[in-house]
């Protein structure tokens, strides 16, 4: 049964080494068709525009990416109706994006960036602006790729995982219940007449 709530990629911060393989994989998997980016550096003819953003400090690093919120502020503020819910995921239609930056401001996680939008190796036109089109860029969970999020697949440290909060909750509930069984068994007071 399709998940009722949006899936999202979450990071095990202890394992992330900040290597940015996920960023490259994300850029590559979204530009194979559009800008025929291959698997080797030589095939890249457009700026690297990932949809997740590895953030590094001395002691830790993690990719920041969209949580596919249920009451997504970005979708709520986008007057162009460029952001919509597809299945359970929040998807940006870059073609419709006019670069107003409202979604970027609304997202509390900083998961949306304005990045150049290239098609066929050239930057798409943006009305009459000289610099060419920039569009809101955020994780779309590789929703068109049957194998799921590229970042999760390539991470060398297996720091990323696709999270379905409902499925995980069921597992955690069982563990929590078993813990309560141990507590009850050990505590004669708990079993005494109340």
């Amino acid at each position: 049964m399709p998940s009722e709530f949006g899936l999202f990629v979450s990071t095990d911060i202890a394992k992330c080494s900040g290597c940015k393989a996920c960023e490259m994989a994300c850029f590559q998997s979204h530009n194979i068709k559009r800008n025929n980016v291959g698997k080797t550096v030589g095939t890249i003819s457009v700026p690297v525009t990932p949809k997740l953003y590895v953030t590094v400090i001395e002691t830790a690093s993690m990719p920041v990416q969209c949580k596919h919120c249920e009451n997504s502020p970005c979708k709520a503020v986008c007057q162009q109706k460029a952001i919509s819910r597809v299945g359970s995921q929040i998807i940006v239609d870059e073609a419709k994006c006019i670069g107003c930056k409202d979604c970027l401001m609304a997202c509390p996680f900083g998961a949306i960036a304005l990045l150049p939008f290239y098609v066929g190796g050239r930057q798409a036109p943006q009305a009459d602006s000289s610099g060419g089109k920039v569009a809101a860029s955020k994780c779309d969970l590789c929703y068109e790729d049957p194998e799921g999020p590229a970042c999760v697949r390539v991470c060398p440290n297996e720091a990323l995982r696709l999270t379905d909060v409902n499925e995980e909750r069921k597992k955690k509930n069982i563990a929590a219940a078993e813990a309560l069984a141990v507590i009850n068994a050990g505590d004669p007071g708990r079993r005494a007449l109340s």
């Binding site: 049964m1 069921k170 079993r191 005494a192 007449l193």
Partner: protein, 568 residues
């Protein structure tokens, strides 16, 4: 029940056999939990790991359909190891020798393989039961809904007699009656073989008493049972014994009888079907006349609870709609048939009842009005007589000689065992949040939201794995008689090869599958055992839509126009 519900927590040992208190009577389950807290030992015999099994000292997880093997083996051990209460047997019972003869064959080793319980466990359980000093047996539909129900009830009674667990506080044997007034319906003689107060229709003296009281000649021929009606409508060769009219009050055979296909056919073929109820239900689809009655809380009544307690149910609100009280409707029909039977209120009827039944004589309206709960027998009308908590005091039994009768019997397997076409065993069980045919609880908002159509089929995780089924997936459950659609619920509480479904769903209607095999004496159907097959539904989207549509269709048939009532 030979004892009172409140006594359950004072037993030294609770022998719970084929009874799931947590789902059937949470308040009785509370007493079982309190008994455990007060140090009682618990032996739970059930093919599933029910709540009681979880807190039991011993859980005999027997294979479905082997009740009597286990019961006889326990008796065998008690005899072999000389754990009988010889004094009680000698003074208060008959037939012990013949009983010993039959029981000799049922050694623990002999039954271990079929019951899937080790001989050692059987011996240990038998010792615990016999030596606890205050052992109480609780049993339920796990015993009664089998082809061999009465024999197992007698088998359990044998255990109580041979160990002297009768006629004292916190002992005895108790079928925990399921419905709020099933005990009452029996007390009032709504049975084919007895008048009110369990007075037999075949005893001339009793029949004359009622003939004098009611002023009419009465038939001396016992009637037929509810479960035989489909036979008497469809297959009865002798025209004189065929049923042509069916006056149904507060029942829904088209949902709660086994083998629903046959029931539906019998309702269609029966010339004249009357349904007198508060809600439209499945039987109503076949009724020729609908007579709307008042519901619980809309009229005064006396109910008998499971431990023979008479209690008042009071009118809280005025009934809605052009409805009448049940006894009022029957009175009108009786008058129209030339035999007036008019009453002004329930107290008048109640007084008539208790004067006809010596055992209920003392349960007067004055006592009940003060919220008393009077467990019959209560023979004198004086204030002090507030009924009897437990039966068979000082070992006095209802047989003419005042003694208990041992009744041995041989084991018979259930009628329909698993086979390769239907490889899983199937049994009906209860859903705690709903009730029976669900026309009451199904129309309660919070109960509906907690648990709704199409219900669940509990299966062993291994079986689910083999069929590639996941939690919550819609599946088709099929037996020789029919099929239904429900959701899969993998749980380790169920043994491999067994499946269980709660029976009050209309889409997940498991009575499409159940078999009509009746116990020869009680005529209770074998709900607890038949063979079934569970099929994976590839197109889940279709299945979900189908369930929703069927739910809407049922609601439409029941006369509901408004949208809403989504399937879970």
């Amino acid at each position: 029940m030979s004892m009172g519900v409140h006594e359950i927590e004072d037993a030294a040992l609770l022998f719970v056999f084929g009874y799931n208190g947590a789902d059937s009577h949470p308040i009785v389950a509370r007493r079982i939990v309190r008994a455990k807290q007060k140090g009682a030992k618990i032996i739970c015999c059930d093919p599933r790991r029910i709540e009681t099994a979880r807190i039991a000292d011993m859980h005999l997880q027997l294979k479905g359909g082997t009740n009597l093997l286990l019961v006889n083996a326990l008796a065998n051990v008690i005899i072999e190891e000389g754990l009988c209460d010889d004094d009680f047997i000698e003074k208060h019972s008959t037939g012990f020798e013949e009983f010993k003869e039959v029981i000799k064959k049922y050694t623990p080793e002999g039954v271990a393989e079929r019951t899937e319980i080790s001989a050692g466990e059987i011996r240990k359980a038998a010792r615990m039961y016999a030596q606890s000093g205050r052992s109480m047996i609780l049993y339920g539909m796990g015993v009664c809904q089998f082809g061999q129900a009465v024999d197992v009830v007698k088998g359990l009674a044998n255990l109580a007699i041979m160990t002297g667990n009768f006629g004292r506080p916190a002992v005895g044997i108790g079928p925990v009656r399921g419905q709020n007034n099933v005990q009452g319906a029996c007390d009032m003689g709504a049975l084919p073989n007895v008048y009110p107060g369990y007075q037999s229709v075949t005893v001339p003296a009793i029949r004359e008493k009622f003939e004098k009281a009611w002023g009419v000649k009465l038939s001396d021929q016992p009637g037929i049972t509810l479960t035989n009606v489909p036979h008497h409508v469809l297959h009865e060769p002798d025209p004189k014994k065929r049923i042509h009219a069916y006056y149904i009050m507060g029942e829904d055979p088209a949902q709660s009888d086994p083998d629903l296909a046959e029931v539906r056919e019998s309702l269609e073929k029966c010339d004249f079907v009357i349904l007198q109820d508060i809600y439209m239900n499945k039987t109503g689809q076949y009724a020729d006349v609908i007579l709307p009655a008042t519901g619980w809380c809309e009229h005064d009544a006396v109910y008998s609870c499971c431990d023979r307690g008479f209690q008042k149910a009071r009118k809280l609100i005025e009934p809605t709609g052009d409805v009448k009280r049940d006894w009022e409707i029957i009175g009108l029909i009786s008058k129209a048939m030339g035999r007036p039977m008019e009453y002004t209120n329930t107290v008048q009827i109640w007084n008539e009842v208790i004067d006809l039944c010596p055992g209920f004589m003392g349960a007067t309206d004055e006592k009940l009005e003060k919220n008393a709960c009077i467990q019959w027998p209560c023979r004198s009308k004086e204030e002090h007589d507030m009924g009897t908590v437990f039966l068979h005091k000082d070992g006095k039994f209802a047989h003419p000689d005042g003694k208990a009768k041992f009744a041995p019997s041989e084991w018979r397997p259930p009628q329909e065992l698993e086979n390769e076409e239907y490889p899983l065993s199937f049994s009906t069980v209860r859903e705690v949040g709903h009730y029976s045919v669900r026309t009451m609880s199904g129309n309660c908002r919070t109960l509906r939201n907690l648990e709704d159509e199409p219900g669940w089929i509990q299966m062993n995780p291994e079986d689910c794995g083999e069929l590639g089924l996941r939690h919550g997936e819609l599946v088709k459950v099929r037996s020789k008689r029919g099929y239904c659609i429900t959701r899969c619920l993998p749980t380790e509480r169920v043994k491999k090869g067994a499946t269980y479904m709660t029976y009050q769903w209309w889409i997940g209607a498991c009575n499409e599958l159940t078999i009509g095999n009746l116990d020869p004496i009680s005529k209770t159907p074998e709900y607890k055992y038949c063979a079934c097959r569970v099929e994976k539904i590839e197109d889940q989207a279709w299945a979900e839509k189908h369930v929703r549509e069927e739910y809407e269709e049922i609601r439409a048939n029941m006369g509901i126009q408004t949208k809403g009532g989504r399937a879970a």
